[in-house]
């Protein structure tokens, strides 16, 4: 479903005299439909940057990302027109990090239900499903209708994860979404993500905790340290 060929990223910082900073060494890997791949490697090897290239938050400098869509057509995510990429993000590709982009004055259930609304699911139904999911993640009932701006880091992360999985994306990109969760919560997240796997979601993930990584991944791709001369202060 996903074939990454010689993908590389170099940042050109124009304000520093067109200084070039390497994001990661060229990577190539494949993930079959329904399989999960973990990116693993020392800090600074560009794991997050690779994931951001897959989601097109970063523009890759060279190489290709061949993605086979639900309709069977294969496209190159590096070159896909913006509006097509937006469509894929709405219909097929999800992305979750450790940071919740909190929207002011939107309740927890509404944030989680958001991706479902507009996909043919009714508002009430979407809220209902969000409620069930948040309860599974042990979000206390009194927080369901509250605004997550004031929530703890761990609560916000659970809201974030719920929002990412509620719509069952075909391809889910995960960048350390459990970074500040306690053991109990992590176990629930693993359970939920494994359910998603069983239902056929393909995943590319970064998890620092080896136990979590092994519990969720079919295979592991090792990212490598950028060579001395390419090395940089950037630690994305």
């Amino acid at each position: 479903m996903l074939r990454v060929n010689n993908l590389s990223k170099t940042f050109t910082i124009h304000n520093l005299g067109a200084k070039e900073i390497s994001g990661f060494r060229p990577v190539s890997f494949e993930v079959a439909t329904g399989k999960t791949l973990a990116l693993s490697g020392p800090s600074g090897t560009g794991k997050s940057s690779i994931i951001k290239c897959l989601y097109r938050t970063y523009l890759a400098t060279s190489g290709s990302i061949e993605y086979t869509m639900a309709n069977g057509e294969t496209v190159n995510l590096v070159k896909l027109p913006d509006t097509e990429m937006v469509r894929l993000r709405q219909r097929e590709i999800g992305y979750v990090t450790q940071f919740l982009r909190v929207l002011p004055r939107v309740s927890a259930t509404e944030i989680v239900a958001g991706p479902l609304i507009g996909t043919g699911v009714s508002y009430d139904d979407a809220i209902q499903r969000a409620t069930v999911l948040l309860r599974r993640l042990r979000i206390p009932d009194e927080l369901l209708d509250a605004y997550p701006v004031t929530f703890s880091g761990g609560e916000q992360q659970r809201i974030n994860i719920a929002r990412a999985i509620i719509w069952k994306p075909r391809l889910l990109l995960l960048d350390e979404p459990t970074a500040s969760l306690d053991k109990g919560s992590i176990e629930i997240v693993i359970e939920l993500l494994n359910e998603l796997r069983q239902q056929g979601t393909t995943m590319v993930m970064i998890f620092h905790d080896p136990d979590v990584m092994h519990a969720l991944s079919d295979s592991i791709y090792l990212t490598q340290t950028i060579q001395e001369e390419e090395c940089c202060e950037c630690n994305r």
Partner: protein
């Protein structure tokens, strides 16, 4: 959800103020850091701007003061005439769509343009004086717009005005008061109610929150986001404020000296800007 076909496609939008000469285009733009032709003095407010707006999407235009953002929006709303360019509409709403299809609506008569504007567009200006008549009541401002869109029944118009003011969080009790008495945030909300009154397919927002207090700004933005989702209206957001762009848009175009220097998904523009100007804009907004 984005649908493949854009509702509006604009190519080569160009507006100049001055006599113009053969050097105007090649001697201006971001490479020179100016929009005024050194040969003939003409100001190239914008040139060669291409854009497409898809149903239900929010497209942003960001750039420094004088970069040509308002010029683009005003040409799309037919407030000013373009010197060059093509605008095609595929809204599926205007009865006259057959006549509109594949036509350059910039070339329509002012009557034709007014019809299109009344049927499918809504606009909110930075300056409420441009969008509202300050001496007639808030309800009257909206009713006036409904009249232009073909409404006739006074009772119905009043009901709809009240509904819209309620939606935009303007107390209905103040419906009969003139906006001149309102706060800046309230005036913007009346403008928004007015812009939405004809159920536009395309909503144009020019610096809607500029000049408002930060807390008022946040509330107006919340309101816009809520209404945008509820009404599924395609929206063009023009702002020099990256915070506004980040909060409201999915795609963004960056303008400088009358030209588009970069366009992309909004998160990409913010996290991996390509053009030197965008990099400067993003880094100065973050620090």
């Amino acid at each position: 959800m984005l649908i493949k076909n854009p509702i509006l496609t604009a190519t080569n939008l160009t507006k100049r103020y001055g006599p113009g000469c053969a050097k105007c285009l090649e001697q201006t733009g971001p490479d020179y850091g100016r929009n005024q032709c050194p040969v003939c003095g003409t100001v190239i407010a914008c040139a060669g701007v291409d854009l497409a707006i898809h149903p239900q999407e929010v497209l942003g235009v960001v750039g420094e003061s004088g970069s040509g953002k308002s010029t683009v929006i005003k040409m799309l709303h037919f407030d000013i005439d373009a010197d060059d360019g093509h605008v095609g509409l595929h809204t599926g709403k205007i009865e006259t769509d057959n006549r509109v299809r594949n036509q350059n609506v910039l070339k329509f008569s002012s009557f034709g343009k007014r019809q299109i504007r009344n049927a499918v567009m809504g606009i909110v200006y930075q300056n409420p004086h441009l969008g509202l008549r300050m001496n007639i009541s808030a309800g009257g401002n909206i009713a006036e717009r409904l009249l232009m869109a073909g409404w006739r029944n006074v009772g119905d118009m009043r009901k709809r005005s009240a509904m819209l003011l309620d939606k935009t969080e303007v107390p209905i009790s103040r419906m009969d008061e003139a906006p001149r008495n309102f706060s800046g945030g309230m005036q913007q909300r009346v403008q928004i109610a007015k812009a939405l009154s004809n159920e536009p397919v395309l909503l144009l927002l020019d610096e809607v929150t500029t000049g408002l207090d930060v807390s008022v700004q946040a509330r107006v933005l919340d309101l816009i986001r809520k209404l945008q989702q509820e009404m599924d209206v395609a929206t063009l957001v023009v702002s020099h404020d990256l915070g506004v762009i980040r909060m409201l848009t999915t795609r963004t175009m960056v303008m400088k000296n009358g030209r588009v220097v970069e366009a992309g998904l909004t998160d990409q523009i913010l996290e991996d800007p390509q053009h030197p100007y965008t990099q400067l804009l993003v880094s100065s907004a973050l620090h």
